[in-house]
């Protein structure tokens, strides 16, 4: 279950990539990737012991 969940979440990277490619919005790349990486950091550390460093962000 955890693996599937992680795959689903990581799917956002592919989805954002496909979005920029199909809609030709390359200029969004830097902002979108920066925010998505921050998002992944928050999402993947939620509930773990390192949460005090992360979960309080955002």
């Amino acid at each position: 279950m955890a693996f599937e969940e992680s795959r689903e979440k990581l799917g956002i990277i592919g989805e954002l990539w496909a979005f920029m490619r199909v809609r030709k919005k390359w200029w969004l790349g830097p902002i979108v990737m920066m925010l998505a990486l921050l998002g992944l950091l928050v999402i993947f550390t939620q509930g773990s012991a390192v949460a005090p460093f992360i979960y309080t962000l955002f």
Partner: protein, 580 residues
């Protein structure tokens, strides 16, 4: 085939279950969570619609989400770029929510719908609106107009629906938005955005539209075809946390009105002006769409389609002969729309029957009601159907205010006789009584009438049905004996009631007519200001006990206030609900 439609994460989240093209159940999350305009994932509503359908998440064939999150994300980022550096405040506030939640819609849905493994499909926001009105309308082919604040980029769109397909032709794009324009004035007039726009509509008849020309000249550049651009110099919603800015205040000669402060002619005139502008835009759009499509039937959805004054003018003043407005025209209706889009358009399935009513929510049988009342120590009498009708009609005619809780709860923002407060429209003081002592809301706000459909044109200047209370019509001159539902401009936002849609409610109004000669009752939503409309017997009983309602009819149970034991509460309920 079971399709679940979901709308959430902005405002008014909701879920709808479609089985073989028919909506089995639809419900807004706010009614179950008791948090007005709840925007969270509609976990309770999903649970309810699945239960109503007798299935679990694993039995679903598809799940539809009502908009395209990444297009919305793109629009927001584009806005931040275009308005850099002024947009920092808005960026700072919005991005955490995106980072934590809105970018992860598929995984949130999967987590909430375990063990569902099927597809999650996304429709454009305005396609969801379009599908929400066209597929449940009685029309095989119709023009479609959707107008709201903003979806992804589109703020208004039009197209044509035919059979099981919808084609959208054109759109107006953010930041040019009729919905946001109206919301900006709502904000400026001291009301809550995305919530109290209808108050501006109710306020408008008190004023004169003296600012229309100035607005048209300086703020709204409107073309004959209804398309428009806003002069963004006056607005801050594209970069800030407010809707209007200093230039707007200068234009109208003062800062925004502070909420809950006294209103003057100035506020009335501004409300009248923006209402007139809104109507003008919608009318021009409708005429243009007719010109483009040559169709005589129109379906409307989107938050602006809840502006029933504009809707009334569309049917009276444009070449469209028939109009269908989705009762849940706002974002909640998107759940129904996306489910239909997935089933009918993507799945190429034939359409089901048209909606004849909006009673799509939870229902409680007599045993459940009695169980609750006994547990609460309430005193009640059990009546037959005929006695419910007879006694309630008599009580209303005698000047009592009645909480009326029957059958399934309505889907959409209007109470239509399922969860309503009813009263006598002939009593000129009833409006003040209801506003001040029952609903605890602003005194200027009008009340709406429910009228027997077959008597509607006798009493109101209307020659079509308005089953969802989404049309405004004038009260006929000889029938002005219903002051409590007649607004200052002699208009009324009416609901026409048929026996097919709501037999008990129809009979009740019929009995009231037999007693009084008036086939009309006041129908206002069963809640107090800021509270979501009641859903369960518990919600209804609490609302009844906390206010000055005289009687409560819960299914076949009649409760008199005087006979009830005092309500013991730990908290002051007035602090529970944020004022809207």
């Amino acid at each position: 085939m079971n399709v679940l439609g979901i709308s959430c994460f902005y405002h008014d989240s909701a879920a709808a279950l479609l089985r073989d093209g028919v909506v089995v159940a639809a419900c807004q999350e706010e009614r179950l969570s008791r948090k007005k305009h709840d925007q969270d994932f509609p976990a309770r509503a999903v649970k309810y619609v699945l239960k109503q359908g007798g299935i679990g998440p694993g039995d679903l064939d598809a799940v539809g989400f009502y908009d395209k999150p990444l297009l919305k994300f793109e629009r927001m980022l584009s806005t931040y770029i275009a308005t850099f550096p002024r947009s920092f405040g808005s960026f700072r506030k919005a991005m955490p929510v995106w980072i934590k939640e809105k970018l992860w819609v598929p995984s949130i849905i999967r987590k909430e719908l375990r063990p569902y493994k099927g597809p999650i499909l996304f429709a454009e926001h305005h396609m969801s609106h379009a599908a929400s009105c066209f597929f449940v309308s009685p029309f095989e082919e119709a023009a479609i107009l959707t107008v709201d604040g903003v979806g992804e980029w589109a703020t208004a769109s039009f197209g044509v629906g035919k059979g099981n397909d919808i084609t959208l032709f054109k759109e107006i794009r953010f930041p040019h938005s009729l919905g946001l324009l109206y919301s900006a004035f709502t904000y400026y007039l001291g009301f809550k955005v995305n919530s109290a726009e209808y108050k501006v509509m109710g306020l408008a008849p008190y004023g004169k539209p003296v600012h229309v020309d100035r607005i048209m000249k300086e703020i709204v550049h409107l073309n004959d075809d209804g398309s428009f651009k806003l002069n963004m110099k006056y607005f801050s919603y594209d970069y800030g946390l407010t809707m209007t800015n200093g230039a707007f205040s200068d234009f109208f000669g003062g800062p925004p009105r502070k909420p809950e402060t006294w209103m003057t002619e100035r506020e009335f005139d501004i409300a009248a002006s923006i209402q007139k502008v809104c109507e003008e835009v919608v009318l021009r759009m409708a005429r243009y769409i007719h010109e483009q499509t040559r169709l005589t039937r129109l379906c409307m959805a989107g938050g602006v389609a809840l502006n029933c004054v504009a809707n009334g003018r569309v049917i009276r003043e444009t070449p469209f002969k028939e109009l269908f407005v989705q009762p849940a025209a706002g974002d909640a209706g998107g759940s129904v729309g996306v489910a239909h889009y997935v089933y009918n358009t993507l799945g190429k399935q034939p359409r089901g029957p048209a909606w004849t009513h909006a009673y799509l929510g939870p229902e409680y049988d007599d045993a459940e009601i009695r169980g609750y009342l006994d547990g609460a120590g309430a005193t009640y009498r059990v009546l037959s159907d005929a006695d419910v009708v007879r006694e309630t009609a008599r009580l209303i005619a005698d000047g009592n205010v009645i909480g009326w809780f029957q059958g399934r709860m309505e889907f959409g923002p209007r109470a239509l006789g399922g969860r309503s407060i009813l009263a006598d429209p002939r009593d000129p003081k009833m409006r003040d009584t209801l506003n001040m002592k029952i609903k605890f809301r602003e005194g200027f706000r009008p009340f709406a009438p429910s009228v027997l459909a077959d008597k509607a044109s006798e009493w109101f200047e209307i020659d079509c049905d308005s089953p969802y209370m989404l049309l405004v019509a004038q009260v006929r001159e000889g029938k002005r004996c219903i002051p409590s539902v007649t607004h200052v401009d002699n208009s009324a936002r009416l609901q026409t009631v048929t026996r097919e849609a709501s037999p008990l409610y129809y009979d009740l109004i019929g009995e009231f007519e037999r007693l009084t000669g008036v086939p009309v009752v006041i129908n206002t939503s069963f809640n107090v200001r800021g509270e979501p409309i009641v859903c369960t017997p518990h919600d209804a009983y609490l609302c009844f006990m906390r206010t000055n309602m005289d009687h409560l009819v819960l299914g076949h149970h009649l409760l008199e206030k005087k006979q009830q034991p005092p309500l013991r509460e730990d908290v002051d309920w007035r602090t529970q609900y944020e004022l809207d």
